[in-house]
Protein backbone atom coordinates (compact mmCIF):
# COMPACT_ATOMS: atom_id res chain seq x y z
CA UNK A 1 0.00 0.00 0.00
CA UNK A 2 1.42 3.37 -1.00
CA UNK A 3 1.41 6.48 1.13
CA UNK A 4 0.44 9.98 0.10
CA UNK A 5 4.08 10.70 -0.68
CA UNK A 6 4.56 7.52 -2.71
CA UNK A 7 6.45 5.54 -0.04
CA UNK A 8 5.35 2.07 0.97
CA UNK A 9 3.24 2.35 4.08
CA UNK A 10 4.53 0.49 7.16
CA UNK A 11 7.66 -0.66 5.36
CA UNK A 12 10.86 -0.25 7.39
CA UNK A 13 14.43 -0.72 6.22
CA UNK A 14 17.02 -1.38 8.93
CA UNK A 15 20.60 -0.61 7.93
CA UNK A 16 22.81 -2.19 10.60
CA UNK A 17 25.90 -4.34 10.12
CA UNK A 18 25.98 -5.88 13.61
CA UNK A 19 23.87 -9.04 13.56
CA UNK A 20 22.73 -8.80 17.18
CA UNK A 21 21.83 -5.09 17.06
CA UNK A 22 20.05 -5.64 13.74
CA UNK A 23 18.06 -8.48 15.26
CA UNK A 24 17.19 -6.37 18.33
CA UNK A 25 15.99 -3.46 16.18
CA UNK A 26 14.05 -5.81 13.94
CA UNK A 27 12.32 -7.37 16.95
CA UNK A 28 11.45 -3.90 18.29
CA UNK A 29 10.16 -2.68 14.92
CA UNK A 30 8.20 -5.79 13.94
CA UNK A 31 4.43 -5.52 14.29
CA UNK A 32 1.59 -7.26 12.46
CA UNK A 33 1.09 -5.53 9.13
CA UNK A 34 4.60 -4.10 9.01
CA UNK A 35 7.25 -5.17 6.54
CA UNK A 36 10.74 -5.04 8.04
CA UNK A 37 13.77 -5.42 5.75
CA UNK A 38 17.40 -5.71 6.81
CA UNK A 39 20.57 -4.47 5.11
CA UNK A 40 24.08 -5.18 6.38
CA UNK A 41 25.81 -2.36 4.48
CA UNK A 42 25.15 1.01 2.92
CA UNK A 43 24.99 -0.30 -0.64
CA UNK A 44 22.36 -2.90 0.25
CA UNK A 45 20.41 -0.29 2.24
CA UNK A 46 20.27 2.06 -0.76
CA UNK A 47 19.16 -0.80 -2.98
CA UNK A 48 16.33 -1.71 -0.58
CA UNK A 49 15.32 1.95 -0.29
CA UNK A 50 15.16 2.27 -4.09
CA UNK A 51 13.28 -1.01 -4.57
CA UNK A 52 10.81 -0.79 -1.71
CA UNK A 53 10.50 2.96 -1.09
CA UNK A 54 10.05 2.39 2.65
CA UNK A 55 8.25 4.77 4.93
CA UNK A 56 11.06 4.65 7.47
CA UNK A 57 14.78 3.85 7.49
CA UNK A 58 16.50 2.99 10.78
CA UNK A 59 20.10 3.78 10.02
CA UNK A 60 23.30 3.01 11.88
CA UNK A 61 25.95 5.56 10.95
CA UNK A 62 28.86 3.10 11.01
CA UNK A 63 28.05 0.60 8.30
CA UNK A 64 30.43 -0.75 5.66
CA UNK A 65 30.77 0.00 1.92
CA UNK A 66 28.78 3.23 2.04
CA UNK A 67 28.71 4.99 5.39
CA UNK A 68 25.46 5.87 7.12
CA UNK A 69 25.91 9.58 6.49
CA UNK A 70 26.18 8.98 2.74
CA UNK A 71 23.11 6.74 2.78
CA UNK A 72 21.28 9.44 4.73
CA UNK A 73 22.14 12.15 2.22
CA UNK A 74 21.16 9.99 -0.73
CA UNK A 75 17.97 8.79 0.94
CA UNK A 76 16.97 12.38 1.71
CA UNK A 77 17.95 13.72 -1.68
CA UNK A 78 16.25 17.04 -2.16
CA UNK A 79 13.38 17.09 -4.56
CA UNK A 80 12.64 13.38 -4.26
CA UNK A 81 8.99 13.16 -3.22
CA UNK A 82 9.35 9.50 -2.19
CA UNK A 83 12.03 10.15 0.37
CA UNK A 84 11.60 8.12 3.55
CA UNK A 85 11.77 9.32 7.11
CA UNK A 86 15.13 8.46 8.71
CA UNK A 87 15.90 7.52 12.31
CA UNK A 88 19.65 7.56 12.93
CA UNK A 89 21.19 5.32 15.58
CA UNK A 90 24.70 5.99 16.73
CA UNK A 91 27.01 5.52 19.69
CA UNK A 92 26.62 7.99 22.53
CA UNK A 93 29.23 10.68 22.99
CA UNK A 94 29.15 11.70 19.36
CA UNK A 95 26.92 14.71 19.68
CA UNK A 96 28.70 16.38 16.79
CA UNK A 97 27.49 13.40 14.80
CA UNK A 98 23.91 14.03 15.92
CA UNK A 99 24.10 17.63 14.72
CA UNK A 100 25.57 16.54 11.40
CA UNK A 101 22.94 13.84 10.98
CA UNK A 102 20.13 16.28 11.70
CA UNK A 103 21.64 18.82 9.30
CA UNK A 104 21.82 16.09 6.65
CA UNK A 105 18.11 15.45 7.02
CA UNK A 106 17.66 12.86 9.79
CA UNK A 107 14.19 13.10 11.30
CA UNK A 108 15.29 11.67 14.62
CA UNK A 109 18.44 10.55 16.39
CA UNK A 110 18.80 7.89 19.06
CA UNK A 111 22.05 7.29 20.91
CA UNK A 112 23.29 3.80 21.74
CA UNK A 113 22.89 2.21 24.23
CA UNK A 114 19.14 2.59 23.88
CA UNK A 115 16.01 1.45 25.71
CA UNK A 116 13.97 -0.87 23.45
CA UNK A 117 10.71 0.82 24.47
CA UNK A 118 12.11 4.22 23.52
CA UNK A 119 13.15 2.95 20.10
CA UNK A 120 9.69 1.42 19.58
CA UNK A 121 8.01 4.70 20.53
CA UNK A 122 10.16 6.68 18.10
CA UNK A 123 9.50 4.24 15.28
CA UNK A 124 5.76 4.44 15.95
CA UNK A 125 5.91 8.24 16.01
CA UNK A 126 7.82 8.43 12.74
CA UNK A 127 5.52 5.96 11.03
CA UNK A 128 2.52 7.85 12.32
CA UNK A 129 3.53 11.02 10.54
CA UNK A 130 3.56 11.61 6.84
CA UNK A 131 7.02 12.15 5.38
CA UNK A 132 7.97 15.77 4.85
CA UNK A 133 7.29 16.91 1.33
Amino acid sequence: MKNGNGSQKNCIVIAEDDDLTGELIEAVAARPGRQVLRANDGEAALRLIREHQPQLVVLDLFIPIRGGMEVLRLARKEGDPKRPRVLVLSAQGQLGTEEEARRSGADDFLAKPFIPGELAARIDRLLGKEAVQ
Binding site: D18, D19, L20, T21, E23, L24, I25, E26, A27, V28, Q92, G93, Q94, L95, G96, K112, P113, F114, I115, P116, G117
Partner: protein
Amino acid sequence: MIGGYLSQTFGYTLFMILAAVVLTLGAVVTVVCFALLAHHMLSSRRRQYRAALVARAIKLLAPVVATGGDLDLAVADARRRVGDRAVAEVLRRARLELKGAVASQLSRLLSEMGETSRLAQEARSRRTWKRTAAIRGLGECGGDQACNYLITAAQDPQPAVRRAARDALLSDRREESVRAAVISFLDDVPKRSGWRREFYSRLASVASGALLDLTTSGKLEPREEKLALEALGDVRERRAIPHARARLSAEDAELRATAVRVLGKLGDIESEQSMVRLLDDPESFVRSTAARAIEAIPAQASTLDALGKRLTDPVWWVRANAAHTLAHKGEDGAQILVEIMEGSDRYAQQISISALTHVNFSRAIQERLEQLLPRFSSDPETGAMLALLRTAQGAAQ
Protein backbone atom coordinates in the same frame (compact mmCIF):
# COMPACT_ATOMS: atom_id res chain seq x y z
CA MET B 1 76.37 -34.35 -9.04
CA ILE B 2 76.47 -32.12 -5.93
CA GLY B 3 76.50 -35.28 -3.77
CA GLY B 4 79.48 -36.62 -5.72
CA TYR B 5 81.31 -33.29 -5.37
CA LEU B 6 80.64 -33.10 -1.63
CA SER B 7 81.63 -36.77 -1.00
CA GLN B 8 84.90 -36.18 -2.89
CA THR B 9 85.62 -32.92 -1.03
CA PHE B 10 84.62 -33.86 2.55
CA GLY B 11 84.81 -37.67 2.46
CA TYR B 12 81.99 -40.24 2.37
CA THR B 13 81.23 -40.38 6.12
CA LEU B 14 80.92 -36.62 6.50
CA PHE B 15 78.69 -36.53 3.44
CA MET B 16 76.39 -39.17 4.96
CA ILE B 17 76.17 -37.24 8.24
CA LEU B 18 75.28 -34.03 6.38
CA ALA B 19 72.67 -35.86 4.30
CA ALA B 20 71.12 -37.38 7.44
CA VAL B 21 70.96 -33.97 9.14
CA VAL B 22 69.34 -32.37 6.09
CA LEU B 23 66.80 -35.19 5.74
CA THR B 24 65.94 -35.08 9.45
CA LEU B 25 65.47 -31.31 9.36
CA GLY B 26 63.29 -31.67 6.27
CA ALA B 27 61.17 -34.30 8.01
CA VAL B 28 60.81 -32.11 11.13
CA VAL B 29 59.80 -29.07 9.05
CA THR B 30 57.25 -31.18 7.12
CA VAL B 31 55.73 -32.54 10.34
CA VAL B 32 55.56 -29.02 11.87
CA CYS B 33 53.90 -27.67 8.71
CA PHE B 34 51.29 -30.44 8.78
CA ALA B 35 50.70 -29.88 12.48
CA LEU B 36 50.19 -26.15 11.93
CA LEU B 37 47.86 -26.80 9.01
CA ALA B 38 45.84 -29.28 11.06
CA HIS B 39 45.68 -26.85 13.98
CA HIS B 40 44.55 -24.05 11.69
CA MET B 41 41.85 -26.22 10.14
CA LEU B 42 40.64 -27.40 13.53
CA SER B 43 40.57 -23.91 15.06
CA SER B 44 38.90 -22.53 11.95
CA ARG B 45 36.19 -25.18 12.24
CA ARG B 46 35.89 -24.46 15.96
CA ARG B 47 35.43 -20.76 15.19
CA GLN B 48 32.82 -21.52 12.56
CA TYR B 49 31.00 -23.85 14.95
CA ARG B 50 31.14 -21.21 17.70
CA ALA B 51 29.89 -18.48 15.33
CA ALA B 52 27.00 -20.73 14.30
CA LEU B 53 26.08 -21.26 17.96
CA VAL B 54 26.20 -17.51 18.63
CA ALA B 55 24.03 -16.87 15.56
CA ARG B 56 21.48 -19.38 16.89
CA ALA B 57 21.62 -17.79 20.33
CA ILE B 58 20.96 -14.37 18.78
CA LYS B 59 17.86 -15.71 16.99
CA LEU B 60 16.62 -17.28 20.23
CA LEU B 61 17.30 -14.37 22.56
CA ALA B 62 17.15 -11.08 20.65
CA PRO B 63 13.35 -11.04 20.16
CA VAL B 64 12.78 -11.75 23.86
CA VAL B 65 15.35 -9.15 24.99
CA ALA B 66 13.89 -6.51 22.66
CA THR B 67 10.24 -7.09 23.45
CA GLY B 68 10.50 -7.61 27.19
CA GLY B 69 9.35 -11.26 27.20
CA ASP B 70 10.22 -13.86 29.83
CA LEU B 71 14.00 -13.57 29.60
CA ASP B 72 14.76 -16.08 32.38
CA LEU B 73 12.84 -18.76 30.51
CA ALA B 74 14.39 -17.83 27.16
CA VAL B 75 17.91 -17.90 28.62
CA ALA B 76 17.34 -21.32 30.25
CA ASP B 77 16.04 -22.69 26.94
CA ALA B 78 18.91 -21.16 24.92
CA ARG B 79 21.51 -22.56 27.36
CA ARG B 80 20.11 -26.04 26.78
CA ARG B 81 20.17 -25.62 23.02
CA VAL B 82 23.40 -23.77 22.30
CA GLY B 83 25.42 -23.87 25.51
CA ASP B 84 26.52 -21.34 28.09
CA ARG B 85 29.36 -19.69 26.16
CA ALA B 86 27.23 -18.64 23.19
CA VAL B 87 24.37 -17.46 25.42
CA ALA B 88 26.76 -15.48 27.63
CA GLU B 89 28.35 -13.82 24.60
CA VAL B 90 24.98 -12.73 23.25
CA LEU B 91 23.81 -11.45 26.62
CA ARG B 92 27.04 -9.48 27.12
CA ARG B 93 26.82 -7.91 23.67
CA ALA B 94 23.14 -7.10 24.15
CA ARG B 95 23.88 -5.45 27.48
CA LEU B 96 26.35 -3.12 25.76
CA GLU B 97 23.74 -2.08 23.19
CA LEU B 98 20.91 -1.52 25.66
CA LYS B 99 20.30 0.48 28.79
CA GLY B 100 17.65 0.79 31.47
CA ALA B 101 15.87 -2.05 33.22
CA VAL B 102 16.65 -4.58 30.50
CA ALA B 103 20.41 -3.93 30.88
CA SER B 104 20.17 -4.56 34.64
CA GLN B 105 18.23 -7.74 33.96
CA LEU B 106 20.95 -8.92 31.57
CA SER B 107 23.62 -8.22 34.21
CA ARG B 108 21.67 -10.25 36.75
CA LEU B 109 21.29 -13.16 34.34
CA LEU B 110 25.01 -13.12 33.49
CA SER B 111 25.82 -13.22 37.16
CA GLU B 112 23.34 -16.02 37.85
CA MET B 113 24.63 -18.21 35.03
CA GLY B 114 28.18 -17.90 36.40
CA GLU B 115 29.64 -15.85 33.55
CA THR B 116 30.73 -13.02 35.86
CA SER B 117 32.48 -15.49 38.19
CA ARG B 118 34.17 -17.25 35.25
CA LEU B 119 35.54 -13.94 33.96
CA ALA B 120 36.56 -12.89 37.46
CA GLN B 121 38.55 -16.13 37.68
CA GLU B 122 40.24 -15.35 34.35
CA ALA B 123 40.96 -11.83 35.55
CA ARG B 124 43.36 -13.39 38.08
CA SER B 125 45.48 -14.90 35.30
CA ARG B 126 49.22 -14.17 35.26
CA ARG B 127 49.01 -13.32 31.56
CA THR B 128 48.32 -9.66 30.89
CA TRP B 129 46.36 -10.26 27.66
CA LYS B 130 44.10 -12.76 29.42
CA ARG B 131 43.46 -10.39 32.34
CA THR B 132 42.71 -7.55 29.90
CA ALA B 133 40.25 -9.69 27.92
CA ALA B 134 38.55 -10.85 31.13
CA ILE B 135 38.27 -7.26 32.40
CA ARG B 136 36.66 -6.19 29.13
CA GLY B 137 34.23 -9.10 29.49
CA LEU B 138 33.40 -8.07 33.05
CA GLY B 139 32.70 -4.56 31.77
CA GLU B 140 30.24 -6.05 29.32
CA CYS B 141 28.56 -8.03 32.11
CA GLY B 142 28.02 -5.01 34.34
CA GLY B 143 26.27 -5.19 37.71
CA ASP B 144 27.55 -5.05 41.29
CA GLN B 145 29.54 -8.26 41.22
CA ALA B 146 31.48 -7.31 38.08
CA CYS B 147 31.91 -3.75 39.29
CA ASN B 148 33.72 -4.88 42.45
CA TYR B 149 36.26 -6.82 40.38
CA LEU B 150 36.69 -3.86 38.05
CA ILE B 151 37.44 -1.48 40.89
CA THR B 152 40.23 -3.83 42.02
CA ALA B 153 41.48 -4.24 38.44
CA ALA B 154 41.72 -0.44 38.07
CA GLN B 155 44.77 -0.73 40.38
CA ASP B 156 46.41 -3.55 38.35
CA PRO B 157 50.21 -3.28 37.87
CA GLN B 158 49.80 -3.37 34.06
CA PRO B 159 48.67 -0.14 32.32
CA ALA B 160 46.69 -2.04 29.63
CA VAL B 161 44.64 -3.80 32.33
CA ARG B 162 44.07 -0.56 34.27
CA ARG B 163 42.93 1.14 31.08
CA ALA B 164 40.52 -1.70 30.25
CA ALA B 165 39.15 -1.55 33.81
CA ARG B 166 38.60 2.22 33.62
CA ASP B 167 36.80 1.86 30.27
CA ALA B 168 34.63 -0.89 31.71
CA LEU B 169 33.82 1.15 34.83
CA LEU B 170 32.81 4.09 32.65
CA SER B 171 30.50 1.93 30.56
CA ASP B 172 28.83 0.83 33.81
CA ARG B 173 27.81 4.53 34.20
CA ARG B 174 26.85 4.29 37.86
CA GLU B 175 28.18 7.02 40.13
CA GLU B 176 30.47 4.79 42.19
CA SER B 177 31.90 3.16 39.05
CA VAL B 178 32.57 6.50 37.40
CA ARG B 179 34.20 7.78 40.60
CA ALA B 180 36.47 4.71 40.75
CA ALA B 181 37.46 5.22 37.11
CA VAL B 182 38.33 8.88 37.72
CA ILE B 183 40.37 8.06 40.84
CA SER B 184 42.28 5.39 38.94
CA PHE B 185 42.90 7.81 36.08
CA LEU B 186 44.20 10.55 38.38
CA ASP B 187 46.47 8.07 40.17
CA ASP B 188 48.26 7.27 36.96
CA VAL B 189 47.51 9.64 34.12
CA PRO B 190 48.51 7.80 30.91
CA LYS B 191 51.50 9.15 29.05
CA ARG B 192 49.85 8.90 25.63
CA SER B 193 47.75 11.97 24.93
CA GLY B 194 45.45 9.86 22.72
CA TRP B 195 44.56 7.66 25.71
CA ARG B 196 43.96 10.70 27.91
CA ARG B 197 41.80 12.36 25.26
CA GLU B 198 39.82 9.13 24.86
CA PHE B 199 39.24 8.90 28.61
CA TYR B 200 37.94 12.48 28.84
CA SER B 201 35.78 11.92 25.80
CA ARG B 202 34.23 8.75 27.27
CA LEU B 203 33.79 10.36 30.66
CA ALA B 204 32.07 13.35 29.02
CA SER B 205 29.67 11.07 27.18
CA VAL B 206 28.68 8.93 30.18
CA ALA B 207 28.97 11.41 33.06
CA SER B 208 29.57 14.95 31.89
CA GLY B 209 28.79 16.25 35.40
CA ALA B 210 31.67 14.21 36.83
CA LEU B 211 34.02 15.56 34.15
CA LEU B 212 32.85 19.09 34.85
CA ASP B 213 33.60 18.61 38.56
CA LEU B 214 37.05 17.28 37.65
CA THR B 215 37.72 20.16 35.24
CA THR B 216 36.77 22.83 37.75
CA SER B 217 38.46 21.09 40.70
CA GLY B 218 41.87 22.64 40.01
CA LYS B 219 43.43 19.17 40.16
CA LEU B 220 44.24 19.15 36.46
CA GLU B 221 47.28 20.71 34.87
CA PRO B 222 46.54 23.14 32.00
CA ARG B 223 47.33 20.50 29.34
CA GLU B 224 44.83 18.12 31.00
CA GLU B 225 42.27 20.82 31.64
CA LYS B 226 42.45 21.69 27.95
CA LEU B 227 41.56 18.11 26.94
CA ALA B 228 38.79 17.90 29.54
CA LEU B 229 37.26 21.22 28.49
CA GLU B 230 37.39 20.18 24.84
CA ALA B 231 35.53 16.94 25.67
CA LEU B 232 32.84 18.94 27.51
CA GLY B 233 32.45 21.14 24.45
CA ASP B 234 32.13 18.08 22.23
CA VAL B 235 29.14 16.81 24.22
CA ARG B 236 27.66 20.33 24.30
CA GLU B 237 27.74 20.51 28.10
CA ARG B 238 26.40 24.02 28.67
CA ARG B 239 27.25 23.93 32.38
CA ALA B 240 30.89 24.27 31.25
CA ILE B 241 30.23 27.80 29.94
CA PRO B 242 31.16 29.75 33.11
CA HIS B 243 34.42 27.84 33.44
CA ALA B 244 35.25 28.29 29.76
CA ARG B 245 34.52 32.01 30.03
CA ALA B 246 36.89 32.28 32.96
CA ARG B 247 39.57 30.48 30.99
CA LEU B 248 39.44 33.04 28.14
CA SER B 249 41.90 35.05 30.19
CA ALA B 250 44.04 32.08 31.31
CA GLU B 251 47.79 32.50 31.34
CA ASP B 252 48.23 29.35 29.26
CA ALA B 253 47.65 30.22 25.59
CA GLU B 254 46.44 26.72 24.65
CA LEU B 255 43.84 26.91 27.39
CA ARG B 256 42.64 30.29 26.06
CA ALA B 257 42.37 28.79 22.56
CA THR B 258 40.45 25.76 23.88
CA ALA B 259 38.11 27.97 25.90
CA VAL B 260 37.21 30.12 22.90
CA ARG B 261 36.71 27.02 20.71
CA VAL B 262 34.43 25.44 23.34
CA LEU B 263 32.38 28.63 23.73
CA GLY B 264 31.95 28.65 19.97
CA LYS B 265 30.78 25.03 20.03
CA LEU B 266 28.35 25.88 22.81
CA GLY B 267 27.12 28.95 20.88
CA ASP B 268 27.62 31.24 23.86
CA ILE B 269 26.35 34.58 22.55
CA GLU B 270 27.17 36.39 25.80
CA SER B 271 30.89 35.70 25.28
CA GLU B 272 30.97 37.50 21.94
CA GLN B 273 32.93 40.51 23.15
CA SER B 274 35.44 38.34 25.03
CA MET B 275 35.90 36.26 21.91
CA VAL B 276 36.46 39.41 19.86
CA ARG B 277 39.15 40.50 22.33
CA LEU B 278 41.01 37.27 21.60
CA LEU B 279 41.24 38.31 17.94
CA ASP B 280 44.03 40.59 19.20
CA ASP B 281 45.74 37.90 21.30
CA PRO B 282 49.56 37.89 21.09
CA GLU B 283 49.49 34.17 20.11
CA SER B 284 48.54 33.59 16.49
CA PHE B 285 46.83 30.22 17.15
CA VAL B 286 44.57 31.86 19.72
CA ARG B 287 43.64 34.58 17.19
CA SER B 288 42.95 32.00 14.49
CA THR B 289 40.86 29.84 16.85
CA ALA B 290 38.84 32.87 17.96
CA ALA B 291 38.27 33.87 14.34
CA ARG B 292 36.88 30.43 13.56
CA ALA B 293 34.85 30.10 16.81
CA ILE B 294 32.90 33.28 16.04
CA GLU B 295 31.36 31.48 13.06
CA ALA B 296 29.08 29.58 15.45
CA ILE B 297 27.54 32.64 17.10
CA PRO B 298 25.37 35.35 15.57
CA ALA B 299 27.90 38.20 15.33
CA GLN B 300 27.26 41.94 15.59
CA ALA B 301 28.53 44.43 12.98
CA SER B 302 31.44 45.44 15.25
CA THR B 303 32.50 41.78 15.47
CA LEU B 304 32.49 41.48 11.69
CA ASP B 305 34.65 44.62 11.48
CA ALA B 306 37.09 43.08 13.97
CA LEU B 307 37.24 39.96 11.79
CA GLY B 308 37.80 42.17 8.74
CA LYS B 309 40.90 43.62 10.42
CA ARG B 310 42.26 40.09 10.82
CA LEU B 311 42.24 39.64 7.04
CA THR B 312 45.56 41.47 7.03
CA ASP B 313 46.99 39.53 9.97
CA PRO B 314 50.64 38.55 9.44
CA VAL B 315 49.76 34.86 9.98
CA TRP B 316 48.06 32.97 7.13
CA TRP B 317 45.85 30.79 9.37
CA VAL B 318 44.37 33.82 11.11
CA ARG B 319 43.58 35.45 7.76
CA ALA B 320 42.10 32.21 6.40
CA ASN B 321 39.87 31.62 9.45
CA ALA B 322 38.71 35.24 9.55
CA ALA B 323 37.83 35.07 5.83
CA HIS B 324 36.07 31.72 6.30
CA THR B 325 33.93 33.08 9.14
CA LEU B 326 33.11 36.28 7.26
CA ALA B 327 32.10 34.28 4.18
CA HIS B 328 29.63 32.37 6.37
CA LYS B 329 28.12 35.50 7.89
CA GLY B 330 25.84 36.30 4.98
CA GLU B 331 25.73 39.53 3.03
CA ASP B 332 27.44 41.67 5.69
CA GLY B 333 30.42 39.34 5.90
CA ALA B 334 30.67 39.07 2.11
CA GLN B 335 30.65 42.89 1.83
CA ILE B 336 33.70 43.07 4.10
CA LEU B 337 35.49 40.46 1.98
CA VAL B 338 34.73 42.42 -1.20
CA GLU B 339 35.90 45.67 0.40
CA ILE B 340 39.26 44.09 1.23
CA MET B 341 39.57 43.11 -2.43
CA GLU B 342 39.39 46.80 -3.30
CA GLY B 343 42.48 47.40 -1.13
CA SER B 344 46.07 46.70 -1.99
CA ASP B 345 46.90 43.70 0.25
CA ARG B 346 47.34 40.85 -2.25
CA TYR B 347 47.26 38.10 0.42
CA ALA B 348 44.06 39.48 1.91
CA GLN B 349 42.52 39.69 -1.55
CA GLN B 350 43.37 36.09 -2.36
CA ILE B 351 42.17 34.70 0.97
CA SER B 352 38.89 36.61 0.57
CA ILE B 353 38.32 35.21 -2.91
CA SER B 354 39.15 31.72 -1.66
CA ALA B 355 36.65 32.02 1.21
CA LEU B 356 33.87 33.27 -1.04
CA THR B 357 34.36 30.24 -3.31
CA HIS B 358 32.69 28.06 -0.65
CA VAL B 359 29.47 30.05 -0.28
CA ASN B 360 26.71 31.45 -2.43
CA PHE B 361 26.30 35.22 -2.40
CA SER B 362 23.90 37.80 -3.74
CA ARG B 363 23.65 39.35 -7.20
CA ALA B 364 24.88 42.68 -5.78
CA ILE B 365 28.11 41.08 -4.53
CA GLN B 366 28.54 39.34 -7.86
CA GLU B 367 28.23 42.65 -9.69
CA ARG B 368 30.85 44.24 -7.45
CA LEU B 369 33.18 41.35 -8.22
CA GLU B 370 32.59 41.92 -11.96
CA GLN B 371 33.65 45.53 -11.52
CA LEU B 372 36.76 44.45 -9.65
CA LEU B 373 38.02 42.09 -12.32
CA PRO B 374 39.82 44.70 -14.49
CA ARG B 375 41.80 45.86 -11.43
CA PHE B 376 43.71 42.60 -11.45
CA SER B 377 45.01 42.80 -15.02
CA SER B 378 48.50 43.32 -13.59
CA ASP B 379 48.10 40.44 -11.11
CA PRO B 380 47.20 37.40 -13.22
CA GLU B 381 47.11 34.98 -10.24
CA THR B 382 44.54 36.93 -8.22
CA GLY B 383 42.67 37.82 -11.41
CA ALA B 384 42.44 34.14 -12.36
CA MET B 385 41.13 33.25 -8.87
CA LEU B 386 38.49 35.93 -9.15
CA ALA B 387 37.50 34.77 -12.63
CA LEU B 388 37.16 31.21 -11.32
CA LEU B 389 35.01 32.42 -8.44
CA ARG B 390 32.81 34.32 -10.91
CA THR B 391 32.43 31.20 -13.07
CA ALA B 392 31.65 29.01 -10.04
CA GLN B 393 28.97 31.41 -8.82
CA GLY B 394 27.50 31.65 -12.31
CA ALA B 395 27.25 27.86 -12.46
CA ALA B 396 25.69 27.70 -8.97
CA GLN B 397 23.03 30.24 -9.88
